[in-house]
Amino acid sequence: MLRFFVKRIFSMALVLLVVAVTIFVIMHLLPGNPAAIMLGPEATNEEVAALAAQMGLDQPIWVQFTEWIGKLLRGDLGSSLFFQGKSVPQVISSHLEATILLTLFSLSLSAVIGIVSGVLAAATHESIFDRGFMLLTSLAVAVPNFWFGLMLVLGFAIMLPILPPAGYRPLSSGIWSCFSYLILPSITLAAGGVALIARMTRACMLDVLRNEYIRTAKAKGVGQIMVIFKHSLRNAIIPVVTVIGMSFANLMGGAVVTESIFNIPGVGRLLIKSVFTRDYPVIEGVVLYIAIAWTLVNLIVDVIYTVIDPRLEY
């Protein structure tokens, strides 16, 4: 196991380095100048050039790269060009709370509802519930989440004003205050996830339920609930854990559309805004953070596999 961890951490470092270099090159090859954006559209070329020089953006790309990679290896991600000179970790961490909470709420919703309904659909295979539920999940996957989110706002924030239409309150403002702002976005995000997890759970459960050891268990008189939850679900859950893990990693990178519809200051919106303003250090920092989130979640998912199925070894 130790060897596995060392190997994974080494490959993780390599992945991060490749990601860092790639994103630096791509961003600097894209047209766009932070100085021009800062000065506004009515600035002249001379004014833009003067500010760019002050910001060090007039240096050849290889000089900028050498400086940046040197700092990166020392753990210094630099400072944002736009956010009052705040360091990149400060900027990212100020967006993390919203992203983490939104991820946890929406993923909990989609995992609980998805697994339970997937199991029920498999247990009642070919029933009206099964067919009806599969139809619903198809709809949930097909409906664009920006439309679904706006419909929720229209329904529960404007026509029936019981929840805020947009915005975010940090946990420090109170649990209910924070939670109330996350209900609609979490439902919006969870809709697609529920469908995916439910369909995956149903398919895996149906596979397992057809195995001979299940038939044997039933023949021995084991009850339906025990058959499903003790003998079937544990064996069916590994692909579902993979899906949940990938969804978690994906959401930790920010749910751009949902964050925009609900004006949540999360990592997704930060990344988009930074791309539009060409805030290079923040873009590089956020992409690195996303890469770290992905590799870490992959590692954790691999460890969870061994807990679920002790036969697995690394």
């Binding site: 009515e42 100020s94 404007i158 925009s260 919106r269 539009f276």
Partner: protein
């Protein structure tokens, strides 16, 4: 003095100022005003930017020596009175108001003013323009500042009164700490003080209890300014629909840049008041006078002849309530409004355009036209007429950052679409900036600009400006499209809001 005592005194001052008002209009102290703007501003350092969004927030925090009334007259703000001007017109002696304190509690003196003006002259676009003609700025005593000019310069007072990119006053320590880079500490003398900026979330201002309001009638950015609100919070909300939903759902109290097609639905609402902002800018197609097919004046004139402004504005900006057709480089609301060259504006004359192209010897060379998302539709409408005249136009849609970057290299483009904002003094506008875009090397335009800037007599300046405008219509360095306004909406609880060019929230209160 303790904070409680300061708040008490502020309440007393507010009460005295508001005594004459009718009971139903009695302002109330307290409350939080939540404002949805379309993005985070790039910075709150007014010396470092000309972005309107910065002024929306920072205009509540900072003040200059002078400010504009609604009609564009210059009135003292931090200066005690209008300057004393020497007989030769080169020395401006400005007495300062006493007892003004910055948000950090420090008293304002001439040292702060001198440092601020010098910093502005060194790093702000308008400051650099003005300081080419300034010999020195010095402190005569603790409360008197002297500006010495190299030559007579007509724009001095208007420059000093500007808010957008203008010479607002910072403590000397801030000027020393951030001599040429944007400041990250926002300390001014205005009615609201900076509290926090959570990137991509909100900016919070709070009432400045030490604010010393003028006791003259409030007029534009001058006169009485009372900070009734406990806090003003600005939220950068990029999605238009979210800004509308936010006000309708009660999350925000006021929103700017609301989609104009929502106007009919919202204007008769029970809970929302709609405001059409004053015209703030005009759309423009900037032509490349140095490279490519548009280097040829006749080609530029042909493009102007083919322009159908009504069609372009309707395609690009929707409801007629939000735009108007007007040939002037200054707005109708300004004293500088002129109709010089109007016969060449909005010609819709495709036949004339064809003749001009023939005279130009134009053989279908490609005209590369760059347009950002806001200007794309109106550019596409304009293009259709120009294509009918025989122009070969390649209209490219691109995000702003790319457009701004490509614009640097004049060999890459022939036309780009943009917007020119208005200023109290036309010499400070981009319309008169001969270095803008690819640059306009025209000795006659340069002479008119210099004459206009130097002269101090209004009638002479107006005549010169009209000549400049006429030259724009004959030489066509750019094509003016139309003036535009934007839609703002506010919760009916928001009181005292005057719908000015920039958003500001002194004298605004919330009905409880």
């Amino acid at each position: 003095m303790s904070i409680k005592m300061k708040t008490l005194m502020m309440a007393l001052v507010i009460a005295i100022f508001t005594l004459p008002l009718a009971a139903s209009e009695t302002p109330k102290i307290g409350g939080i005003l939540k404002v949805a703007i379309d993005s985070d501003p790039p910075t709150l350092d007014i010396h470092a930017t000309r972005a309107t969004l910065s002024v929306f927030v920072a205009g509540n925090v900072y003040e200059g020596l002078y400010a504009f009334t609604k009609m564009g007259d210059v009135k003292p703000m931090l200066a005690a009175q209008m300057p004393e001007i020497s007989k030769d017109g080169l020395t401006y002696t400005i007495p300062l108001r006493k007892g003004i304190t910055f948000h950090n509690g420090k008293g304002m003196t001439s040292a702060d003013v001198v440092a601020s003006l010098n910093r502005w002259g060194k790093m702000a676009s308008y400051g650099k323009l003005l300081f080419q003609h300034v010999s020195s700025v010095s402190a005569k005593d603790e409360y008197t500042v002297v500006i010495q000019l190299k030559e007579k310069w007509g724009t001095l007072m208007n420059s000093l009164a500007m808010l957008l990119g203008g010479p607002v006053i910072y403590p000397v320590e801030i000027c020393e700490k951030f001599p040429s880079q944007p400041s990250s500490e926002f300390i001014g003398t205005g009615p609201y003080q900076f509290v926090e900026w959570l990137p991509n979330n909100h900016i919070t201002l709070s009432r400045f209890n030490g604010y010393q309001s003028l006791d003259t009638k409030s007029d534009g950015y001058t006169g009485k300014k009372i900070p009734y609100l406990d806090k003003v919070m600005f939220y950068g909300v990029t999605e238009e629909a979210v800004r509308v939903n936010g006000v309708e759902g009660g999350e925000y109290d006021l929103a700017d840049f609301v989609p104009t097609d929502e106007y009919d639905r919202l204007k008769d609402g029970d809970t929302i008041t709609t405001y059409i902002s004053p015209a703030r800018a005009w759309f423009v197609f900037v032509l490349n006078t140095k490279f490519g097919p548009t280097k040829n004046k006749k080609v530029r004139q042909a493009m102007l002849a083919a322009m159908d402004v009504d069609n372009s504005m309707a395609a690009g900006y929707g409801d007629k309530a939000f735009w108007r057709v007007d040939p002037s480089l200054a707005l109708q609301e300004q004293i500088w409004h002129s109709t010089a060259g109007a016969e060449l504006y909005n010609q819709k004359n495709i036949q004339r355009a064809k003749e001009l192209l023939k005279e130009a010897g134009y053989k279908g060379e490609k005209i590369t036209w760059m347009a950002g998302p806001l200007e794309y539709n109106l550019s596409a409408a304009a293009k259709s007429n120009m294509v009918k005249a025989g122009l070969n136009i390649d209209l490219q849609s691109m995000e702003w950052a790319t457009l701004l970057s490509r614009r640097k290299n004049p060999e890459l483009w022939s036309v780009f679409s943009s917007g020119f904002t208005t200023k109290a003094d036309p010499s400070l506008t981009t319309a008169m900036n001969l270095k803008y875009g690819a640059g306009w090397d025209n000795p006659e335009a340069q002479k008119l600009f210099d004459d206009f800037s130097r002269n101090q007599d209004f009638d002479t300046r107006f005549k010169t400006l009209s000549q400049f405008q006429e030259l724009v219509y004959t030489e066509v360095p750019y094509i003016k499209v139309g003036d535009y306004k934007n839609l703002r909406i506010a919760n009916k609880k928001v009181k005292g809001y005057t719908n000015e060019l920039y958003l500001y929230f002194f004298n605004v209160w919330m009905e409880k």
